[in-house]
């Protein structure tokens, strides 16, 4: 038998005497994994708020082109005349983008930390007891949702991949309704839209529950409701969003 390691081991002492250099308190908070989870949770709440209002707003397409286009106009004119045309919306978009960037940065840093925490993987198959498919695929569902959002912006906001963008409706408003119908009538786009939203739902299923833990919102009175809330929230988003391509392809919307 060959020799393993024989380096001299030293005793352990004075492990808690070094004092940590303190930063501004928010940076200090963000410096630890717990702090980063706070950022994940708070930005997560903001993004969830957006996803929910976005979905609710889009339901207007069931009321017809005029309703949806007027809604789009309303958003552009938000807080007008306090704010000039479109400015409030861009501030909101900027905020949303900041939330997304923070969410991504925290997720990235935690992933790096976690990879480092187990450099050698288990060499045999794991048999998970509680961890769900959703919790274990957060970074994949998140990245696919991110790719979808990019596509979605190119499609319906910037019109890079949507020829209808820029068209006006009968009332002279931006034809958002027509944009949506044009986009989702393309079957591959519709399929991508459905898959991405199901993954978004899976992401939300874990994320919405996780928020409570990460923010330390824990109370035996409502703990059981946390999982129900997450399930309901994810289900509402998925059902709402997936209904749009289905409705367009089925001809319910667009004719």
């Amino acid at each position: 038998m060959t020799q393993a390691t024989s380096s001299h081991r030293s005793p352990v002492t004075g492990t808690a005497v070094a004092s940590k250099r303190r930063r501004l308190f928010l940076l200090d908070l963000y410096s630890t994994a717990v702090g980063k989870k706070y950022v994940m949770a708070i930005t997560g709440i903001a993004l969830m708020g957006f996803v929910l209002t976005h979905m609710i707003g889009n339901l207007k397409m069931y009321l017809g082109a005029s309703e949806l286009n007027h809604y789009a106009r309303f958003l552009e004119e938000l807080f007008y005349p306090i704010a000039p045309h479109g400015v409030a919306l861009w501030i909101l978009r900027g905020g949303l983008l900041a939330m997304l960037v923070l969410h991504l940065h925290a997720a990235y840093s935690l992933t790096v930390l976690n990879r480092r925490a187990r450099p050698v993987k288990y060499q045999s198959a794991r048999d998970f007891q509680i961890a769900t498919f959703a919790s274990r695929t957060m970074r994949w569902s998140g990245m696919i949702a991110l790719a979808f959002i990019t596509w979605h912006l190119l499609d319906l906001t910037f019109g890079v991949v949507n020829e209808n963008v820029g068209a006006k409706d009968a009332e002279g408003l931006k034809d958002v309704y027509g944009n949506v119908v044009f986009s989702l009538q393309r079957v591959p786009v519709a399929i991508f839209y459905v898959i991405a939203n199901v993954l978004l739902g899976i992401h939300l299923f874990h994320g919405a529950w996780s928020i409570f833990q990460s923010l330390g919102w824990n109370n035996p009175r409502f703990n059981k409701l946390r999982r129900s809330f997450a399930t309901a929230f994810a289900a509402i988003i998925v059902i709402g969003n997936v209904s749009f391509p289905v409705a367009v392809l089925a001809g319910v919307v667009g004719n």
Partner: protein
Amino acid sequence: MSNKIKNLTLKIWRQLGPTTKGSFETYKVAEISDEASFLEMLDYLNERLISEGKTAIVFDHDCREGICGTCSLMINGQAHGPQQGGATCQLHMRKFSDGDNIVIEPFRAAAFPIVRDLMVDRSKFDRIIESGGFITAPTGGAPDGNLIAIPKPVSDAAMDSAQCIGCGACVAACPNGAASLFTAAKVAHLNRLPQGQPERFKRVESMVETMDLYFGSCTNHGECQGACPKEISVDVIALLNKDYRKAKFASRKDLAR
């Protein structure tokens, strides 16, 4: 009544030291009593290896009644094997059947380097406790034990998390190699008690920051709770997060540091 379990195939991780390369070795156990504990099955195998002139398989164990927290092992992909609410030493062979394949790996985490074979070094847990997992109460000056009345529910809740045996299964089971359940269990024990209030925020701050030096982060999988021999709930992690936030927001001047 005792029955025999036959034809077990064991795939066991063998590794000489923290930096050497390890691999699985396969061993056959022809027959073992179903009354035997899992570790007794390993003892039996070791006896055979010794009689064949081979080096025995190294694994950590001591009290063999589920309280000292020395034993570990990933058995078929589960920390402490296929049973809930118990340590490896409380696992019995009657949980297995004839012809089973059993894969045994050490707990794996950067903070738990392999000492040899299935034995790992969990002393990073001690570093977390040393940084704040205590109440400063030097011997001698303690007031009467009944001076502070502690509501029974508070005391019971503190006891629930104080039961942690420090085995490291939470870290081993966590897909991120996080020690949040271990750290939070101690924080929840001491921060819930009146005696723990003076150092409440200092404690959670130092413990979280020490934990961060060695372990991954909690992403709320909940796998730790499933692996915990004492079934400590992830609710304590929420408490840890809450107290950590409060510690950061509390005015520095108010805190003894």
